[in-house]
């Protein structure tokens, strides 16, 4: 085995002896370019890649923590994903004082307005890019605290076009609900008024 080894080693030593190393072009210019590049970078870019990645990851976590600690922020993020409608409303029931308010309505989710013993549940549903369906449910609060559905009108209208809904109490139409749905988050961009119908 030893002889085996020595013989073969000698043979290959002889074959490979004085075989020149294969030569390459001068690599220094490219290497110099590569090693000096980081020096030319300034500030944050000079930091190593892992450090920059860590900073970005840290900032992202901080941003997420800050956002989720703002009351209602996570809800707003969810709402932002859906289409959001907002309505300025004015509601007046017979002789009682006019009630003014603003209402944010998330697409296909009902929002409620209470005035005296009446409850209006308004739901705005986006049908397509242009059309919107508005459902209004009018409830009357009973003495035992339960709600009685008086009327459940619905209308399909275009975004930005005024719509009008007749609202009746138990006997006759008493209100006219006017609203112009727009898909904007600015409350003032929406107009909605519930006007008493004078006999």
């Amino acid at each position: 085995m030893l002889k085996d080894k020595e013989n073969l080693e000698g043979v290959f030593n002889k074959i490979c002896a004085q075989t020149k190393l294969l030569e390459t072009r001068d690599l220094w210019p490219d290497i110099k370019n590569a090693v000096e590049k980081p020096k030319r970078q300034i500030g944050f870019l000079r930091q190593p890649l892992w450090s920059r990645t860590a900073v970005f990851a840290g900032l992202a976590v901080c941003a997420a923590v800050v956002v989720f600690f703002i009351p209602g922020a996570s809800e707003n993020i969810k709402n932002g994903i859906k289409k959001l409608f907002s309505i300025n409303y004015s509601l007046q029931l017979r002789d009682s004082a006019e009630v003014l308010g603003g209402l944010l309505v998330t697409d296909a989710q009902a929002q409620e307005i209470t005035i005296n013993n009446m409850l209006l549940r308004i739901k705005v549903t986006s049908l397509d890019e242009k059309a919107v369906r508005i459902d209004v449910s009018i409830f009357k609060k009973q003495t035992d605290g339960s709600l009685k559905l008086l009327h459940n009108p619905a209308i399909v209208t275009l975004r930005g076009s005024p719509a009008e809904i007749q609202v009746s109490d138990e006997k006759e139409p008493v209100y006219r609900l006017k609203l112009t749905p727009r898909e904007q988050k600015d409350l003032t961009a929406y107009k909605c008024a519930l006007e008493p119908i004078k006999p």
């Binding site: 085995m1 002889k3 085996d4 080894k5 013989n7 073969l8 080693e9 000698g10 043979v11 290959f12 030593n13 002889k14 074959i15 490979c16 004085q18 075989t19 020149k20 190393l21 294969l22 030569e23 390459t24 072009r25 001068d26 690599l27 220094w28 490219d30 290497i31 110099k32 590569a34 090693v35 000096e36 020096k39």
Partner: protein
């Protein structure tokens, strides 16, 4: 030699990137030769050598001056080469060469013999060409020890340091590599291997 390398490294670490230039000039052909003999692709070899220097420069702070700089540099180059070979083996599986297309411009140049004599040159050139090809076809673990020992004239001790294996393991790999090469080359070039075939065991091995 080692002292000079360490001086250059120290200068580079002080912020003088130009001090790295002599180190590149000194080792670029060795790393290129190693990578070319391992991969058989001139562009890949150039890229490996370049990447090895850039990696060495970037991690120069980690270099322990108690050890040989060339061993450290070779270890970096060998690691890069092994990774490239792993990638190339996947690429080659789908390459056109498998379907009989020529190697093209990426093929290594003709081997050069310093003692070229007209009467011998043709056979010797042919032998070196076949040897290069046979070495490239060896398994990576055998190929690296063979190239380091026979082409780069590296000692067993240095090879064991560069590869992180024992000297015994280096010897065994060398023996295995040589036998595989012998088996391929001896029938084509008997005049170069006549000394080797005198041994009965080797002759038996070749027959097997």
């Amino acid at each position: 030699m080692q002292q000079e390398d360490i001086r250059m490294v120290t200068e580079t670490l002080k912020g003088d990137s130009e001090a790295f230039k002599p180190l590149v000039e000194k080792y670029q052909n060795r790393l290129y030769d190693l990578a070319l003999r391992m991969t058989g692709n001139i562009h890949e070899a150039e890229d490996i050598a370049q990447t090895a220097f850039i990696k060495a420069y970037a991690s120069l702070k980690l270099y322990n001056t108690a050890h040989d700089f060339s061993n450290w540099l070779y270890t970096i180059a060998l690691n890069i080469t092994r990774n490239r070979l792993r990638r190339l083996s996947i690429i080659n599986f789908f390459s056109l060469e498998r379907f009989g297309f020529p190697e093209g411009e990426n093929a290594p140049p003709e081997p050069v013999d310093a003692h070229d004599k007209p009467e011998e040159s043709l056979t010797k050139k042919e032998l070196l060409k076949c040897l290069d090809k046979a070495v490239r076809n060896l398994p990576v673990s055998l190929k690296e020890v063979f190239v380091l020992f026979h082409f780069h004239e590296t000692s067993l001790n240095d090879i064991s340091i560069r590869l992180g294996i024992s000297q015994n393991a280096v010897s065994l790999r060398l023996l295995k590599g040589r036998k595989l090469l012998y088996k391929q080359l001896a029938p084509k070039f008997p005049e170069y291997f006549k000394n080797g075939t005198h041994d009965k065991k080797e002759a038996d091995y070749v027959k097997r």
